[in-house]
């Protein structure tokens, strides 16, 4: 992984980003980097500023201080947190994928098969189940071959088994496409396994590093409680067992916890 990291191209970086709204400090000197081919997971309790940070990264809100540096010509596939479906707009899945730009039938079929939703091409978006819709929404972020995916809580309205499956899918997309992925989540134990780095945010960056080190970091335990760390330990074991190739994390990296 260290070799990969040195070859990886930096896609997007936040440097000392701060933002206040209505007298509240939402973001406090936040640094963040996402390189190509890596999954960076942003975790933190509700109200920690995760979605705000995503908005700043996407250029939707200018930061009060600090800067966002993006790779030249960076194309981002964005999955917003609240993607409400509306039966008022008649929309097939194929048409949904081409909402913002036209695409060939070939590309539509390709991204749908990539998320295992080929059979849904002609279905009405409003009729999809929660899990089906999240897959289709994930497929939409892949349109136009972006080099960075920003996925804000991509497993909403999905049952537990569906969550694990979606995260497996996200890991697969990273391996196949080599794109960088910034993943936002407030639930940790399933997320962490596929992540290369975890950043724990609570206004400021509390701690960051490889999943195991973050799970055992005192700041993390303070935010989420010691049971969260135990839950992760249980999961990591389970995960290594099932996905040995991707999930294995070397002993050396356990000590790389950053403050």
């Amino acid at each position: 992984m260290a070799v990969e990291a040195s070859k990886a191209e930096s896609l997007i970086s936040a440097r000392g980003v701060s933002l206040s709204r209505n007298g509240r400090r939402l973001l406090d000197h936040v640094d963040l980097d996402v390189n190509s081919g890596e999954i960076v997971t942003l975790i933190g309790p509700n109200g920690a500023g995760k979605t705000t940070l995503v908005r700043v990264l996407l250029g939707l809100i200018p930061p009060d201080e600090g800067e966002i540096i993006t790779a030249k010509g960076l194309k981002i596939g964005y999955l917003p947190q609240r993607f409400e479906r509306d039966a008022t707009i008649p929309l097939t899945v194929s048409r949904f994928l081409t909402l913002s730009s036209s695409a060939s039938n070939g590309e539509i079929g390709e991204v749908l098969s990539e998320v295992g939703a080929s059979s849904l091409a002609d279905a009405q978006v409003a009729n999809l189940s929660g899990g089906e819709f999240q897959r289709v929404a994930l497929a939409k972020t892949l349109m136009g071959a972006p080099s960075l995916l920003v996925l804000d809580e991509p497993v909403q309205n999905v049952d537990y088994a569906g969550e694990a499956e979606l995260y497996r899918l996200i890991g697969e997309i990273r391996r196949r496409r080599g794109c960088g992925i910034l993943l936002v989540s407030h639930d940790l134990h399933i997320v962490l396994g596929e992540s290369d780095r975890v950043i724990c945010l609570n206004g400021h960056v509390c701690c960051s590093g490889v999943p195991e080190s973050v799970a055992q970091h005192p700041e993390y335990m303070r935010l989420f409680g010691p049971s969260a760390a135990e839950a992760y330990a249980v999961y990591a074991h389970h995960h290594d067992h099932v996905h040995g190739l991707s999930g294995a994390v070397s002993e050396a990296e356990h000590d790389e916890a950053a403050g």
Binding site: R55, L58, G59, L60, I76, Y78, P80, F83, D86, T88, I89, P90, L91, T92, R95, L99, S100, S101, S102, Q124
Partner: protein, 265 residues
């Protein structure tokens, strides 16, 4: 039986219906039905302003509609009152102001009933030029902003993140709406214009699988409503504008069978 004024009324009605229907779809999708009605209600004030300033009445109507849209955007910045309350205030204040302005203008310069309820059978050649020239421009612009407007209507933040200038697109939509109201006023009157925007789109919804299908079907429904309504008006000697609205209501009622069929399948 097809006299000149009937043919003109048909041409004008179908022309407006086809132009208004796609915009009506966006009104339904964006939950802006009350906004459409508010813009329509401001039409009378626009006419009065046009008369008072001796400028083209259409320009007066568009100017007042845009001013009202800007006022709404400004008022939405406060957070204590919801948008439908603001629209409820603006719509009726605009209508009241229009009625007062109309009464202050000298008698005979303003046919109040004509503006309130429309007078499609009195369409002139000049009106037809306006409707077809203006209508072609509105239709072309609607097609031009179709994709970004749809993306903004679906999820504004995502559209902005994808580089779509959402503010400009929404402003362009409001402008098109104001233009349509200005053109349609003479036909069905300011009190009934909103129905020409909303009912065809609502009628088309259960038959459409894509946004584009809904726009085309709503245009067909609107044109059919105009033809049936005018026919009924001539046969039964009922007022033309309200007859068109009632014809649309019949078509909408029939579409409900399909709505419930879709819902239960």
């Amino acid at each position: 039986m097809f006299e000149g004024f009937v043919l003109k009324a048909l041409l004008a009605g179908v022309g407006i219906a086809v132009v208004a229907a796609p915009l009506g779809c966006f009104i339904v999708w964006r939950r802006m039905a009350y906004f459409g009605a508010t813009i329509a209600h401001s039409g009378l004030l626009g006419v009065a302003v046009g008369l008072a300033l001796s400028i083209d009445l259409t320009i007066g109507v568009i100017a007042v509609a845009l001013a009202l849209s800007a006022l709404l955007l400004g008022l939405q910045r406060q957070r204590l009152l919801p948008t439908d309350t603001l629209l409820g205030i603006l719509a009726h204040v605009a209508l009241a102001a229009g009625l007062i302005a109309a009464s202050l203008l000298s008698e005979g310069r303003l046919d109040l009933m004509g503006y309130l309820f429309g007078d499609i059978l009195a369409v002139t050649d000049r009106d037809l030029y306006w409707i077809f020239g203006g209508g072609a421009v509105i239709l072309a612009l609607t097609i031009w902003i179709w994709r970004p407007l749809l993306a903004v209507s679906m999820h504004e933040e995502l559209a902005v993140a994808e580089g779509i200038p959402a503010g400009w697109i929404s402003a362009a939509f409001m402008l098109l709406l104001a233009l349509t109201v200005a053109l349609a006023m003479k036909l069905v009157g300011i009190l009934l214009i909103a129905s020409l925007l909303i009912i065809p789109a609502a009628t088309a919804r259960p038959f459409a699988r894509t946004p584009e299908q809904m726009a085309v079907i709503s245009a067909v429904v609107a044109a059919l409503g105009v033809v049936l309504g005018l026919g009924a008006s001539l046969t039964a000697d009922t007022p033309a504008g309200p007859s068109i609205v009632m014809a649309l209501a019949v078509l909408f009622t029939l579409s409900l069978f399909q709505s419930f069929r879709v819902a239960s399948s």
